[in-house]
Symmetry: C2
Subunit: 504 residues, 2 copies
């Protein structure tokens, strides 16, 4: 039992970092990756210039109660240079857990198709992230101020914002709106279409693990996919990572071993004790997960600056045969980790407490995971390359209670968003990458004619939403083309079925 037990003795102040130790919470680490901006890569073939204006909308703090009448400034970005008004479509990015300018810069797909569709682009920031803080600097001060950080409130923000745009922007009144999002943003875009089909005519949910909730998919599938990515990227790569945990345990059992490890990995802060070693192993586990998410076919900088097909590069250091010493093995692991953390050669040391994001976004997502976004994860060390770790809801709940004074509701997301019973909805594309561990919780088969799955076997996390690139595999080119076809179909449908006239 991994969750809870190891952390019980730790003081509350450290709990936020510790939460990442529990196996079931690793999704926190993984999803937060999207907070990073794309800093560009060397091999982009086309880059439609990004040009937007920033606006702020007075948004209700509480859509579901009337006592709190306050409003906050929700940030949104509008790119309308290629919009064909009147009635040209609006592509609406349903912002996820981070600064909306980062998502805007990382969703080249929308910028590239704007001209073809004559579309206006809107990127709406998710409340409690970026600049859209309901209570300013106090937004994260306690559970009272955090109480309005839910996906339902975020969806209501999007709905109210769109309704307002359509009624105030000249030429937008009859514009069909399509929701687009990736990862948690993709979950939001799918749910947005499910809950507000009056507001959006369809949704593209890219790499959206809408089924990564209790009882919907096996908790171990996520880590199995991570493992597969490594198994397929180099000889014995997964096997050697599987062995590395024991090797770390062996080596770290002496003071000299701890020192060796710290030096071998060029750690900024040397390992001192068992707790440090646990954190170190979790940091490594997170590293492999992140690599699986960003295993892109070209040099890119999403979570870190990385070479093309980074797992193949990593695995070059992990091709040992079975007869290898712990030290030799861990030397390979250290070289591999440095591909991820020091591809540019600029890092003087590696920081094991480093997270892939600013603390605000991380804390926000941790709160969301501790309330609605309960995503069971587990490992067994057999079908995956990680140390065994059960999913322990009670321990997870206790951690959440200790940190935030709230408890997660395991069944709520399934009830409110339909779980596996979503066949009555329509016009949603679920795109998933075969390399992406989040596809484990995604919709990877057609549900109906209009709830369709697009698989990108060579794709990592929402590759389809990124700028096109010369190195893109045919599968993602085909996916993007098909997505545009669906968009055009939905737009046509919307024009055929005009709004019922309203009466003033």
């Amino acid at each position: 039992m991994r969750a809870g037990g190891r952390t019980g003795a730790l003081d509350r102040a450290a709990a936020v970092c510790i939460l990442a130790l529990c196996c079931g919470c690793l999704h926190v680490i993984a999803l937060k990756s999207q907070l990073f901006t794309r800093l560009g890569g060397s091999s982009y073939s086309t880059e439609t210039p990004i040009s937007y204006e920033t606006f702020y909308f007075d948004q209700q703090i509480d859509h579901f109660g009337f006592l709190e009448e306050g409003t906050f400034k929700q940030r949104y970005l509008v790119g309308d240079k290629l919009w064909k008004q009147p009635a040209g479509p609006i592509l609406f990015y349903t912002g996820n857990e981070g600064d909306i300018t980062w998502f805007c810069n990382n969703t080249g797909f929308m910028w590239e198709i704007a001209e073809e569709l004559g579309a206006m682009l809107v990127f709406a920031e998710h409340r409690y992230y970026g600049e859209s803080l309901p209570f300013g600097q106090d937004s994260y001060s306690d559970s009272k101020h955090l109480n309005y950080l839910t996906s339902e409130q975020a969806l209501a923000d999007f709905a109210v914002l769109i309704q307002n745009l359509k009624s105030t922007l000249p030429g937008a009144q009859r514009s069909p709106v399509i929701a687009v999002g990736g990862s948690y943003g993709g979950m939001l875009s799918a749910w947005f279409r499910m809950k507000y089909p009056n507001i959006v005519v369809g949704a593209l949910a890219s790499s959206a693990p809408i089924w990564q909730f209790p009882g919907m998919v096996p908790c171990g599938d996520f880590y199995k996919i991570v493992t597969q990515d490594f198994a397929e990227s180099g000889y014995n790569c997964d096997a050697n990572i599987r062995k590395s945990w024991k090797a770390i345990n062996n080596v770290s059992s002496t003071a000299a071993g701890l020192q060796w490890l710290s030096e071998e990995f060029s750690l900024c802060k040397p390992l001192k004790n068992t707790i440090d070693v646990i954190a170190f192993k979790n940091w490594l586990q997170e590293t492999w997960v992140n690599l699986a998410m960003v295993d892109y076919p070209y040099e890119a900088n999403f979570l870190q600056p990385l070479p093309r097909w980074p797992i193949q590069v990593v695995c070059k250091y992990l091709g040992f045969d079975s007869a290898v010493s712990d030290y030799q093995l861990l030397h390979g692991v250290s070289q591999a980790a440095k591909v991820y953390y020091n591809y540019t050669g600029d890092s003087s040391c590696l920081n094991t407490s480093q997270t892939a994001t600013g603390s605000l976004g991380y804390l926000g997502w941790t709160y969301q995971a501790c309330t609605e976004m309960v995503m069971p994860m587990c490992t067994d060390g057999v079908q995956d390359m990680f140390e065994p770790g059960e999913w322990n809801f009670q321990a997870f709940s206790d951690e959440c209670n200790a940190i935030f004074g709230v408890r997660p509701r395991a069944d709520w997301a399934g009830i409110v968003y339909g779980g596996k019973d979503i066949a009555s909805h329509s016009n949603i594309i679920f795109s998933n990458g075969g390399l992406d561990p989040w596809s484990a919780g995604g919709v990877t088969g057609n549900i109906t004619n209009s709830l369709v799955s697009i698989m990108i076997p060579d794709g990592a996390h929402h590759l389809d939403l990124r700028y096109s690139n010369d190195h893109d595999p045919p599968s993602v080119r085909a996916a993007r083309a098909l997505e545009v076809k669906y968009f055009q179909e939905w737009i046509k449908q919307a024009k055929k079925a005009p709004r019922t006239a309203s009466t003033p």
Copy 2:
């Protein structure tokens, strides 16, 4: 301008009663009618015996935030004598603004079809009504305690309750659930299917004015239908009611006139001044509205014990030609009013502050009208038989703020429940009575093959949900038969498309 202006000088304590004065709030009066129990009538032909057990479910006070972790006991009634388990369907009444036992007793239709469908019946009480009080006796103490009284919370209650029943009741796991409701309960049943199609396979929304919201239907249509009912029930009936307001103004302009009026109407509390006269006219207006709602073809007791086709009886006293004195006219009005208030002959005097319901339900609905349920109403005295009264949202909002410290959000219901853009949903029957003023805000034409309208031209307010009766017009018999056919179709669909298997 009727709303606000007349009430501005009144003290805050009286505001709840005064709210009914504003033309736009008359729906409050009308909808609350459902709080009354059916006490039986002389001509019921068949009465399936009602037999249920009462249960209480620990329901989350706040489904949309995690700070308030408290629960309350939600009452629900279960009638399962005729249930064919396993997998027999569940008919689920989405309780509206009142004691659920009253709705249970007034929804004979469900009891009559239970055997044919092999159905379990569940009647779930709406939070803040009956015994389902989130904070016990404090539930109505202030706006803080009232903050969880919303339709979204109520729908979430229903969803969580059903999920729980299906997972705990042996034989219910694969039972398709159909939502049934009348009036506000019908709005809830329609919205329930729209928002939780994973929980209910279809919904019967009887007399559900889901379009009685800003910008959706003309604000005067409600009162036009009331007027039509009177116009068609007796010679000059509507014309004489239209004249009666001026007659009341004339007669009440002197102290002697006030006394005459008080005696003529056998008022328990004599009229003293202009404010009393305004209240008196509003009470009369409410009387005519209520009569339109319960213009049933048989002797019944819904709002009051009444003869069959009560408006025809009322109109017998209002058939004057134009040449009639104010006093003669008002004598007729008084006789007419007594049909409604004293059909049994048991009333010693008439109480103009009498409301048709207990104060709890009334206060709750007033709060709902003051928050989400913003239903514009207006009169012009030309196309309807009432004194002209505009819809004045600002005045209404100010009243609400004075009473509860909250302000209504005019656009919210339209955004969250789709307004007129609901065509992408499925499996909802909207039944409406041609005599029912609430049909003005109802769906009275088919939207798609599976969002269908059933009109009952001779029907008043949700006649189809009542026990069958020898005097039922053929239209309501046909409506009920068609409703059952749809239910059977939905049940068949659900069996054909079994739940996707879940993984533990």
